[in-house]
Symmetry: C2
Subunit: 356 residues, 2 copies
């Protein structure tokens, strides 16, 4: 056995994440002022765009994810049915496939990668949707956590294009507590001396920081009750240590620290009120989509009350709370129960007729 086999395998590969398509964004200017000369947007699609181009759904992904994580909600006979819909899964900047610290050449590599916003993701996705595919209206935009931030950004920025929206477990404007939480999980990575301001040679060098980052997520990611009930048993883990290692660490440690930091900074600065001079009510008031705001009970970053506050500002909206001891991670859909609850929300909204 060589040393190589003892470390996590290379993570950002199509072997692990599946085949992507790439949109060449050319010289792309980010909202914070920097630009990349050859930016790219990685994405996947499922199903076929019909001739009327009116069967498209957009499903951006969460922090630390790739489109792969959203594919678990797509399937024949399920609400996101590729026989019926053309489902676009865009990769966010920083995910390791779209332009990211880990795949961008100097001078914008690693610790020099620019700050990116949710608005940048959505503008790139808008190019994909309109120019690549010629789509004028999306039947549904949905997403979990940072995917919810992108969903809100779509619904506020392009209100005439989004017929339906489901932000799961995420906010239109990052709350102060969420901001503090995200900054904390950035800081535990940066506290690792091996991070070196982002200029490490190999992500594996920053393993201590990545482990600390996984630890933060283990504390905040699922509910207190989850651990007390030992609900990890239900999904096949044999001990708390097994769960810590083979869920949290196995998920986060193979990743690139700078990629995570790029996404985290973006998350923390999510705020659709920027489109209305800081007035969140005015920004959310622009949404024309029929919207199901869907918190997960017991979510420590996105408490039900925070989502309820925003839902109250969205004209044609409902609050749909999903009860799960998995808290924020209900959308990992580790149990049939969680997967079915999420499918029900998606199915109910897609069944709603929209006057266009």
């Amino acid at each position: 056995m060589t040393t190589q086999t003892m470390v996590y395998p290379e993570y950002y590969t199509e072997t692990i994440h599946g085949k992507h398509e790439y949109l060449d964004l050319g010289h792309f200017e980010f909202e914070m002022g920097a630009s990349l000369p050859n930016a790219k947007l990685a994405y996947k699609t499922h199903g076929r765009l019909n001739a009327a181009k009116d069967n498209a759904i957009l499903f951006p992904h969460m922090y630390s994810g790739t489109p792969l994580a959203m594919e678990r909600f797509i399937g024949e006979g399920r609400p996101l049915d590729p026989d019926k819909y053309f489902i676009i899964l865009p990769g966010q900047f920083g995910n390791g496939f779209s332009s990211s610290p880990s795949n961008t050449p100097p001078p914008s590599d690693r610790g020099a990668f620019p700050q990116v916003t949710i608005g940048d993701d959505v503008r790139a996705q808008h190019l994909l949707v309109t120019e690549t595919f010629g789509i004028e209206k999306l039947q549904l935009v949905l997403g979990w956590s940072m995917g919810a931030e992108q969903t809100y950004e779509w619904a506020v920025r392009y209100p005439d294009m989004v017929l339906r929206a489901i932000p799961f477990a995420g906010t239109a404007k990052t709350t102060p507590h969420d901001w503090l939480f995200v900054r904390m999980h950035e800081n535990v990575i940066k506290a690792d001396p091996a991070w070196r301001g982002g200029f490490y040679d190999d992500p594996a060098e920053v393993r201590a920081g990545l482990k600390a980052h996984a630890e933060v997520w283990s504390v905040m990611g699922v509910t207190q009750q989850f651990y007390k009930n030992e609900d990890w048993r239900e999904v096949g883990f044999s001990s708390l240590d097994d769960f810590m290692r083979n869920l949290w660490e196995a998920w986060f440690i193979p990743m690139d620290p700078n990629n995570l930091l790029t996404m985290a900074w973006k998350w923390r600065h999510g705020d659709v009120s920027k489109h209305a001079g800081g007035d969140l009510a005015a920004a959310l008031g622009r949404i024309k989509a029929k919207t199901f705001v869907t918190p997960f009970a017991g979510d420590m970053f996105f408490p039900v009350s925070d989502l309820e506050d925003e839902q109250a500002l969205i004209p044609d909206s409902e609050l749909r709370v999903i009860d799960s001891t998995w808290g924020h991670f209900a959308m990992f859909a580790m149990t049939d129960r969680d997967r079915e609850a999420i499918d029900t929300v998606i199915g109910d909204l897609l069944a709603t007729k929209i006057a266009t």
Copy 2:
């Protein structure tokens, strides 16, 4: 201005914390197997022990505290009235006044200080109460957080001595989630290379770790709603940054990292079920004290449901939930509202007649 005036002043001084008394514990054996040749228990008292020795109250303190933190609940005309009661405020091991990494000479100094348990604290306090003061029964044992752990340990270990008990925002047996939380805040200190396995020369060297530790507490210590409401304004902070620096950092950064780690390890391993072969119901079933189990709504380390689960196992008990956006830190009593709510619980229990 010299460099010296630019750092936090020396923290573990009677100038800051007030005058203590000291019980010489001699050669004291800890439950985990280590011992100290000249252990000491620092404490304060308020009021006078009466001739019958039946007016004593014991009020141990929380993580990162000293008896000073409990004095804010003592006052003439208040439930903890020194004109009526003899109130003993013991310092826990690791608090910087009782035997601690910061005040113990080699070979048990700093990173070599032994692991200490809640049971060790309570055994030392029992010597103080019985041998120093000759007290046979305590009218009330109460405490917040780690003080609640000590309260439970007293009520289970010495059920005939404790007439009344109030565990505020703490558990008899550390829950798995709380265990993970505490380990996380230990680990962010240890991640600072300057910690050097505990063998730093000056706590100020570990400032980055202490700052990270303060950051963890800022995320978990008060509720999400607290930050959203900007409730820090009510108590005189002018901005979120002001609150972060001048509450969280000002509180935690002057402390000794090894002292914090000693208390944290002790917290994490709190478990009265050890007295009944691991059977928590049997252990709590031994409690004879009239007990008010008092969670703070929205407390992220000690959710109401966790305290409710334990309360259900205590024979003569009630659940008294205190509602505050301060969450776990309601017991900082930064608002009159919180102080009065806590005083009400104490007053109500002290007014209850106990058949002795």
